[in-house]
């Protein structure tokens, strides 16, 4: 695969220290940038807050999934046993919440888990997405090893190459670099 070089897509800088990268996140957020991200090998606690990210909406989805599971379990047991297929087994009631508990619980957990999994990966994180426009940058790749890679995206309204470079240098980033689009030619 050959690659040619295109437009500027980002300015990147590297950090190795969690304190400095957190301070940098605050600095970038404070400077008014919105289209930026920090790629890290593991979750650095407090970084999302320093970046000014709002709380995740995942719990709402989880709750909805759980309620769906619980109510379907109720409906399933009530309708099949109590209405559709009335079978007397040892004189036990056709439906009672007591014997429904295990299935209430299991379906609630199952639906919550599936909702969380697909919402988190698919909806909130937009995965799978097997291509990233930054993927040829070595520092970006090293973010799955030990690098904290700060990316100021060119799409940000405040972005100019010079100001972005100056900001990252001021915040103490190493290896501040301009990253250009890589056009793949198969």
């Amino acid at each position: 695969m050959e690659a040619t070089i295109g437009n500027v897509i980002a300015v990147m800088g590297d950090f190795k220290n969690p304190d400095k990268v957190t301070a940098a996140a605050k600095g970038i957020h404070g400077a008014g940038y919105t289209k930026f991200d920090i790629y890290t090998p593991y979750p650095v606690h407090g970084l999302e807050k320093a970046m000014g990210m709002p709380k995740t909406s995942l719990p709402k989805f989880a709750l909805a999934g759980g309620l769906f599971g619980l109510s379907s379990a109720f409906a399933l047991q009530y309708w099949t046993g109590g209405i559709e297929y009335k079978l007397n087994i040892g004189g036990k009631p056709l439906f009672a919440p007591q014997f429904g508990v295990p299935v209430f619980f299991e379906l609630m957990v199952l639906c919550t888990g599936l909702t969380v999994f697909f919402t988190m990966f698919g909806y909130l994180n937009r995965l799978p997405n097997w291509h990233s426009k930054y993927q040829y940058d070595a520092g970006f790749q090293a973010a799955t090893d030990d690098n904290f890679c700060v990316v100021l995206e060119a799409e940000d309204p405040r972005f100019t190459v010079e100001t972005a470079q100056a900001l990252l240098s001021k915040l103490g980033a190493d290896n501040v670099r301009v990253v250009r689009e890589t056009l793949e030619q198969d």
Partner: protein, 497 residues
């Protein structure tokens, strides 16, 4: 709350905060508590070590082990095919004893799985950071164990090609499943358990697969890791949601793991058979499951530790901690055995009393005493700190415990069934070669899965172990942050809400 805990554990290994640089350790700092990872590793070294295992060429030893496991699994699959083709009449079951090795093995394997969930979920919620060295492989073990459990429970129905009848679905017979039966609860419990364990495990794997993807040299490896890492980049915007999802999974799995073996115990406890009809079963089964599961984790991890040279990650501290859990759950199990006996006497029910006296002195007394020796007496050695930290002793004892736990299930099932109310139907049960081969075969299958996992996937949770390294987290200074003193930016205890 969390901030306090995080700071406390991050500083725990060192007498002062200044040593916690993460990238190079000050020689003056003496550990108060053993560090979780030995060898003063940098974050990069951890990537090298763990990814290195998956990247090195498979050795002839590996292929030999894989082949041997496949042969054993193959024999099991052969016996299983024979069972399905001919019918479960080829097993040693009779009119009196309708559940034998099939359900014994089902409960045994489901129980094994519980340690994995306990380590990944319960210890996560309790912020037990030592879990990061073993959680990945324990979770993998859970999944493989539940697959094995499914083998038994799906074939014992007799006509496994009709197993979908277990699920409630609209059909031309206009029939629905019986939700009043604990066996139906089991269908929901075990399938939910498997699904959630798999999602939890896979969620944990995604960032680590991305690490492997970015390092992969061969095209095939690159393609495989690329697909399964879903294009994970390590974006903080992703980690943010990811971490919350991980917490919800832990929060879901904690009651789930308790529910699954409780529901398995309902298979027995809800019946009115003396020996089964006891209210102590749910907690007793859960404790037993964790007991056997930890033993299995130890058996596997001690071998992996030697073969893959993970001494710096799975330290004596980890082994010590797991042995303490084995001791604690072993005591709960021992208490449950004693309490069962007491209640059988205290109930004043002659049938109940008979079953328990028969259990200890009757035809299956050998099985009962085997269980008592392995599960109640043998873990007592672990009161000794020296023995808890003796690798060979732990290895042998972990196997003894699992033998004991297998016999527990066998004892519960066969002693309660073989002498019913009518002496004319009293009977004895011995398994046939078919049942034995299937059981041995499941160990082969388990090893095939485990070997493939250990070879091709990150056996230690990279992202998680990195995040608990000294120096890995920022040092925020909160009002409740009293656990470490003020230092420069290099100092890294962490705080987080």
């Amino acid at each position: 709350m969390e901030a306090k805990e995080q700071v406390a554990t991050a500083t725990a290994g060192y007498t002062n905060g200044a040593a916690m640089n993460g990238y190079h350790d000050s020689p003056s700092a003496k550990p108060v508590r053993e560090p979780l990872v030995l060898g003063n590793k940098t974050i990069h070294q951890i990537t090298e070590d763990i990814c290195g295992i998956a990247e090195q060429k498979a050795t002839p030893k590996f292929w030999a082990a894989l082949l041997a496991s496949m042969l054993v699994a193959g024999a099991g699959i052969g016996a299983l095919t024979y069972t399905i083709a001919v019918g479960i009449g080829v097993w040693g079951l009779n009119n009196t004893i309708g559940w034998g090795w099939d359900i014994t093995n089902f409960v045994f394997w489901v129980g094994i799985g519980h340690a994995g969930t306990l380590i990944s979920a319960v210890l996560f919620l309790f912020r037990q950071k030592w879990r990061t060295a073993i959680n990945r492989s324990a979770e993998a073990m859970t999944i493989f164990a539940v697959i094995n459990a499914a083998v038994f429970v799906l074939t014992h129905t007799g006509r496994p090609w009709l197993d979908y009848w277990l699920l409630p679905y609209p059909n031309q017979m206009k029939m629905w499943v019986n939700f009043r039966s604990p066996l139906e609860w089991d269908v929901f419990a075990v399938s939910t358990y498997f699904t959630i364990s798999l999602l939890f495990w896979f969620t944990g794997l995604v960032p680590d697969l991305a690490s492997l993807r970015n390092r992969a040299k061969s095209k095939i490896a690159k393609a495989g890791y690329t697909v399964f890492s879903l294009g994970w980049t390590g974006s903080t915007r992703n980690w943010h949601h990811y971490e919350f999802a991980y917490m919800i999974f832990a929060g879901l799995s904690t009651p789930l793991v308790l529910s699954v073996h409780s529901i398995v115990s309902f298979d027995f406890a809800v019946s009115i058979l003396p020996g089964w009809h006891t209210t102590i079963f749910p907690p007793y089964f859960v404790a037993g499951a964790i007991f056997s599961g930890f033993a299995m984790v130890l058996t596997l991890m001690l071998v992996a530790r030697e073969i893959l040279d993970l001494h710096e990650y799975i330290t004596l501290k980890h082994i010590d901690n797991m042995n303490k859990i084995i001791l604690a759950t072993g005591m709960i199990v021992g208490y449950a055995y004693a309490m069962e006996f007491f209640i059988a006497w205290y109930s004043g029910n002659p049938y109940e009393r008979f079953v328990f006296i028969n259990r200890a002195t009757g035809d299956y007394a050998w099985s009962y005493w085997m269980m008592m020796t392995c599960n109640v007496f043998s873990p007592q050695f672990f009161w000794s700190a020296r023995l808890r930290r003796n690798v060979w002793f732990t290895f042998v004892l972990s196997i003894v415990v699992n033998i004991g736990m297998w016999f527990e299930r066998f004892t519960i099932i066969s002693t309660s069934l073989h002498h019913g109310y009518l002496p004319s139907s009293w009977h004895y049960y011995t398994p046939t070669w078919v049942e034995i081969t299937i059981f041995v075969g499941t160990f082969g299958l388990f090893m095939v899965f485990f070997l493939l996992f250990a070879k091709y996937l990150p056996i230690i949770a990279l992202g998680e172990i990195k995040s608990i390294m000294p120096g890995a987290q920022p040092s925020h200074h909160h009002h409740d942050d009293h656990a470490h003193d003020e230092h420069s930016g290099e100092v890294t205890a962490k705080a987080h809400h």
